[in-house]
């Protein structure tokens, strides 16, 4: 296995957990890294270089809100100097036009701008603050510059019925790419799962809308749709396989194979302050733990799809079924699929109820 090990393609750099928003589905862990524990820019710059030498091609600067770091443009420059493609994942809230210009000049290749919905009130409902006008301004500034643009709409039971409005807004803005991504149930989203999971009827309807949007927008905007894997027959290939395609660095410098890996009990993660990136990727216990097929139990072990989905998501196996070493419970072959089915049955029995009140949500807090 080690001899055939490929380098990661993507470095996901969570620069900070600080963020002006409070999304009810934020993928950040419930326990966040404080500002005074964040990696300094020197270590990030060194890491970006090490990543490029290892074979990484792209870096995602994300967070929290990456623009909450005043040294973001310097990090973008360091990434470009190392030879990396720079993708900036932002809520748009900490940017003004001058700052965006600075980031474009520093070499940002692509901006991924997140949206809570198409309406003025969407960010208020789902992120606890008014933000829509600012996001629209950032989209406009981005379109006036030589930078790629993806709009990322996070969709769920409470806004999926507004999908057509989101598509119209996309057509007005005209990005190269749009993602309608159903919430993935980790972090804060897991805490709010019962309010976020769409109904079967909503999901079926959304698939039709997406299909016609894809046709209408072909050659203008590439449309991508992420369905909730609870409704799928087979799990997603989480992170392209554990320790195979991507490496995620937390604001404190811990290297993770997956966003939610810190949830899994009994795992230890190496820190970039202490160990070089290549060594962590190739040799650390955490990255080797579920890499390849050696760890797989039945039914994965003898399944034809094991090279396609790698047995699904380890964090989901832990969160939903209480055992990270088992087949992802969303898989129809998993003996634990019953758990997922009973969650779906409950959601679909209740149907689309009235919109939740502010007090029904668990809003993401800020690490300060």
């Amino acid at each position: 296995m080690t001899s055939a090990l490929q380098p990661p393609l993507t470095l996901i750099a969570e620069l900070t957990h600080r963020c002006p928003l409070h999304c009810v589905y934020c993928s950040n862990p419930l326990e966040m890294v404080q500002k005074n524990k964040e990696l300094p820019k020197e270590i990030w710059a060194r890491t970006l270089k090490e990543a490029a030498e290892l074979g990484v091609l792209q870096v995602d600067f994300t967070g929290g809100e990456p623009a909450a770091r005043p040294d973001l443009a310097e990090l973008v420059r360091a990434a470009r100097e190392a030879g990396l493609y720079v993708n900036l994942i932002t809520s748009g809230l900490s940017l003004d036009e001058r700052r965006l210009e600075e980031l474009v000049r520093a070499g940002t290749d692509h901006l991924q701008l997140s949206f809570q919905g198409a309406r003025e009130e969407s960010p208020i409902e789902f992120a606890g603050v008014p933000a829509q006008a600012q996001k629209l301004r950032v989209a406009r500034w981005a379109r006036q510059r030589a930078i790629g643009l993806t709009l990322n709409f996070v969709v769920h039971r409470q806004n999926l019925d507004q999908l057509e409005e989101m598509i119209s807004l996309t057509e007005e803005i005209g990005p190269e790419r749009v993602e309608f991504a159903n919430v993935q149930y980790y972090g804060w989203a897991f805490a709010n799962r019962d309010l976020l999971l769409p109904t079967r009827t909503q999901l079926d309807h959304s698939l039709e809308i997406i299909k016609s949007a894809e046709e209408r927008l072909r050659g203008k905007t590439r449309v991508e749709y992420v369905v909730p894997d609870y409704y799928a027959r087979y799990p997603k290939a989480c992170m392209g396989g554990w320790g195979q395609k991507a490496i995620l660095i937390t604001p404190a410098g811990d290297a993770l194979p997956c966003h939610a890996a810190q949830l899994i009990p009994g795992m230890t993660f190496e820190n970039l302050r202490k160990r070089p990136l290549r060594d962590i990727w190739e040799n650390s216990e955490a990255f080797r733990r579920f890499r390849g097929e050696g760890w797989m139990p039945e039914p994965c072990k003898s399944c034809d799809r094991r090279g396609l989905d790698f047995g699904g998501c380890r964090c989901q196996a832990w969160l939903v079924a209480g055992n990270a070493e088992q087949t992802d419970p969303v898989c129809s072959k998993s003996p634990r699929r019953l758990i997922v089915d009973s969650i779906l049955a409950r959601i679909n029995r209740n149907g689309q109820s009235a919109a939740p009140a502010h007090s029904d949500w668990t809003y993401r807090v800020n690490p300060g």
Binding site: D109, H110, I147, T150, E176, G219, R222
Partner: protein, 92 residues
């Protein structure tokens, strides 16, 4: 959209080739990386917003003079359409 011969393809914003010194050569795009073999690299390198599709075809027909010229043309048109659908190029 069917590309017409007078159009000038150019890499879309957010898409670029990695450096010549970096091997293997790839087209870097949002959330993906397109590996380029010989002919596809020759095509993408010429999507500079200056050459017309006709020029690109002529240059590659010279470069691959052993191949049937109509086949070269057909392959290039199909590849450009694919790149356009992936939003890797614009036609100007």
């Amino acid at each position: 959209m069917i590309p017409a011969l007078h159009m000038r393809p150019r890499l879309a914003p957010g898409c670029r080739l990695n450096e010549k010194s970096q091997a293997p050569r790839v087209l870097l795009m949002p959330e993906r990386v397109l590996r380029l073999n010989g002919p596809s690299l020759e095509i993408v390198e010429r999507c500079d917003g200056e050459r017309t599709i006709q020029q690109i075809i002529s240059e590659l027909q010279l470069l691959y003079s052993k191949a049937v010229p109509e086949k070269v043309q057909q392959d290039i048109l199909e590849y450009l359409k694919l790149l356009h659908d992936k939003r890797a190029i614009n036609f100007e």
